[in-house]
């Protein structure tokens, strides 16, 4: 039996000092064993204090590195904003993919929206040549639809889990219709393909899974 002389308690488990007051425990009788504890002791998963330390060190290192590079080399070929934006996109993509790893259709839908917005922004930064809406968004929409189609065949996903995201991707694919109508694009072919492809899928899904779509919407949109 292990007892704490200060707290005047019996202590379970393999403690050698009192878990409450850190006084050395008095061990009597069958010294080694004591009464077993009810708690398991899994190793630490991570260490908060250490993680914070490492994070600060790395950040500090990066800042110093940046200052040193800046001193010797002044980014003649491209602006720093591209480097930063690139890093930002990398991290955002990682966050989206990790957070949405359970539902691949959702991850694709989110990435499609994210990349579309980013490409429009890049285009704007570069003095608006229109490449983002002419090529990026329509082509990305078509490939996303194909990607969703393939991945739901490969991964075991319930219809109700992906159907709304499939429709979301389809809706993004329909946006180029606006570009066509407003005559914003020089080369209409990618947009025409995207709109036609999306429209067929949209109507097809609605015809086949109408009740499912309505039920999912009712469930998710209840107020």
């Amino acid at each position: 039996m292990r007892t704490c002389p200060r707290c005047e308690t019996t202590v379970k488990g393999t403690w050698t000092v009192c878990p409450l007051c850190q006084t050395t425990l008095k061990i009597e009788g069958e010294a080694e064993k004591g009464e077993p504890s009810s708690f398991i002791s899994p190793p630490l998963k991570f260490n908060r204090q250490k993680a914070v330390q490492v994070f600060f060190r790395i950040s500090l290192g990066l800042v110093l590195l940046y200052l040193v590079i800046q001193y010797f080399w002044t980014f003649e070929y491209f602006g720093l904003e591209y480097v930063l934006l690139g890093l930002l996109i990398t991290w955002t993509m990682i966050v989206i993919l990790v957070r949405k790893r359970q539902n691949i259709a959702k991850a694709i839908a989110y990435i499609l929206c994210f990349i579309s917005i980013v490409s429009v922004y890049f285009d704007y930064l570069n003095g608006w040549t229109g490449w983002s809406i002419t090529f990026v968004i329509p082509i990305l929409s078509i490939s996303s639809l194909i990607a969703v189609y393939i991945s739901i065949r490969v991964v075991d996903l319930k219809i109700e889990d992906y159907i709304l995201y499939l429709q979301l991707v389809v809706l993004v694919g329909l946006i180029p219709l606006l570009f066509l109508l407003m005559d914003w694009v020089e080369h209409p072919l990618p947009s025409i393909f995207s709109v036609a492809f999306s429209l067929v899928l949209f109507v097809g899904v609605l015809l086949r899974y109408r009740t499912m779509v309505i039920r999912e919407l009712q469930k998710r949109m209840h107020i």
Binding site: L20, S38, R48, K219, I223
Partner: protein, 451 residues
């Protein structure tokens, strides 16, 4: 509820979803220590059986545009061996996981529940039925083991908040729109203050907040104290208060003794949940509770009178248990939930608002306690169940008490490594003549490596 069917969350659940984080996972655990080591296959059979009787436990949590909702799942839960630290997160976004888990290790069975599913009472019913089934199956050969299970009277998916506190006769939408706001306004006028108060805290004083070193991997510090329930009751009777009030008062005193007094006045408040089933007849398995809070202000230099603390918080507690005051508060909560404007706000924004309200509420709470009272198992069962206790994940040091088989179990959980408050608490108990057994978990690398 058939597969694919869904239902709204109850009024209390939304706050758990907004308030949960890595440290306070809003998961609580019940543990039964059995007389023999656990047979996993039999426990699985028992779980299958109990699970069939509790449709609510078939739910998974999903996210909609405006609200979270519960949806029925079609797979069966599996018992798992306990390998992770207690009360680790259960609800993970986008995963169709059950909102509870059944674990076993050596001679212990654990039930862990995400609080948005049900409260302590609902979980305890499930847990009692689970261990009854287990004992019945495990000791089938012994005569009468477990006996025949009495049919439990319960309403599985009834939302009792709505049954009792939702106004049904309101005619126009406009009324519903204006009602909670005008009431709040009236209340403010009565209080003489003009700034709307959105928290429920009864005190306007600055409330002491416990600070400490957060545990390295966010597992909670757990201190389980076991003692004789009769002797503890005697102590409470000497002060002429209930055991809940006695332990709460002792806790307030221990916090004050353990921590430095920074100012002339130190107000320590304790949040206490109340089981509403005892005031508003209901046998729902879902959440049906409310919280009250009591506080005591110490004045620097003035002698501490333990009996005065007991008296003061006993009076406060009783006043808050008045049916009318409970009713008014809950009605307002429901009115806000069903307020037309609140309903059409997108869920992430609602979550944000609830987070803010929760933060403000937390500033008025020093510590918390929760009492499940006495758990009684049939005599044929008691032979096979040695002990039973529960505890919860926390954002501030809290204790959960339950008595079983003449043992009073007080289980402290804390997000902080420090144990000074619990040490004072134990010291006060032993000084009053109680024999206390301490069981603690290990949270730092030094403790784990056996230093």
């Amino acid at each position: 509820m058939e597969y694919g069917k869904w239902m709204r969350l109850d009024n209390a659940s939304n706050i758990f979803l907004a308030a949960r984080n890595d440290i306070d996972t809003k998961v609580f655990r019940m543990t039964a220590e059995m007389s023999d080591s656990i047979e996993p296959t039999i426990l699985q059979d028992a779980l299958n059986h109990t699970y069939d009787e509790y449709p609510l436990f078939h739910s998974v949590l999903r996210r909609g545009f405006f609200w979270y909702y519960l949806e029925r799942n079609d797979v069966n839960p599996r018992v798992q061996e306990e390998i992770e630290s207690p009360v680790s997160p259960i609800y993970k976004t986008d995963e169709r996981n059950f909102l509870f888990r059944v674990l076993y290790k050596e001679n212990r069975i654990h039930l862990e529940v995400f609080h948005a599913l049900t409260d302590g009472t609902g979980a305890l019913w499930f847990f009692e039925d689970l261990i009854t089934d287990y004992v019945r199956l495990r000791y089938a050969k012994q005569q009468n083991a477990g006996g025949e299970k009495a049919k439990r009277e319960k309403e599985d998916i009834e939302d009792s908040f709505n049954r009792y506190f939702k106004e049904k006769k309101k005619t126009t939408r406009f009324d519903r729109f204006i009602q909670p706001l005008s009431e709040l306004y009236k209340e403010q006028r009565a209080n003489g203050s003009f700034v709307p108060k959105i928290t429920d805290a009864p005190t306007d004083k600055k409330v002491y907040q416990i600070k400490g070193t957060v545990n390295p991997d966010h597992r909670p510090r757990i201190i389980l104290l076991s003692m004789d329930v009769k002797k503890a009751l005697e102590l409470a009777r000497n002060e002429k208060v209930s055991l809940t009030i006695y332990m709460t008062a002792l806790y307030i005193l221990s916090v004050y003794q353990a921590r430095e007094k920074e100012e002339d006045e130190t107000t320590i408040s304790v949040s206490i949940p109340i089981n509403l089933r005892q005031f508003f007849p209901s046998v729902t398995v879902r959440n049906f509770f409310s919280t009250t809070s009591v506080d005591y202000t110490f004045k620097e230099g003035k002698a501490i009178d333990f009996n005065a603390i007991c008296r003061k918080i006993d009076d406060q507690f009783k006043a808050q248990l008045e049916k009318e005051s409970l009713e008014n508060r809950l009605k307002r909560h429901i009115e806000f939930e069903f307020h037309p404007a609140a309903r059409v706000i997108l869920r992430p924004i609602k979550d944000f608002f609830l987070k803010v309200v929760n933060k403000l509420n937390n500033r008025k709470v020093t510590v918390a306690m929760s009492n499940l009272g006495r758990v009684h198992l049939p005599d044929e069962m008691a032979e096979y169940v040695d002990n039973l206790y529960f505890y919860t994940s926390v954002i501030r040091p809290q204790f959960c008490m339950v008595s079983y088989n003449q043992i009073l179990n007080i289980c402290f959980t804390s997000p902080f490594t420090e144990t000074d408050i619990f040490q004072k608490f134990v010291e006060n108990l032993t000084a009053a003549g109680l024999e206390v057994t301490v069981d603690a978990n290990q949270v730092t690398n030094e403790e784990l490596s056996g230093k």
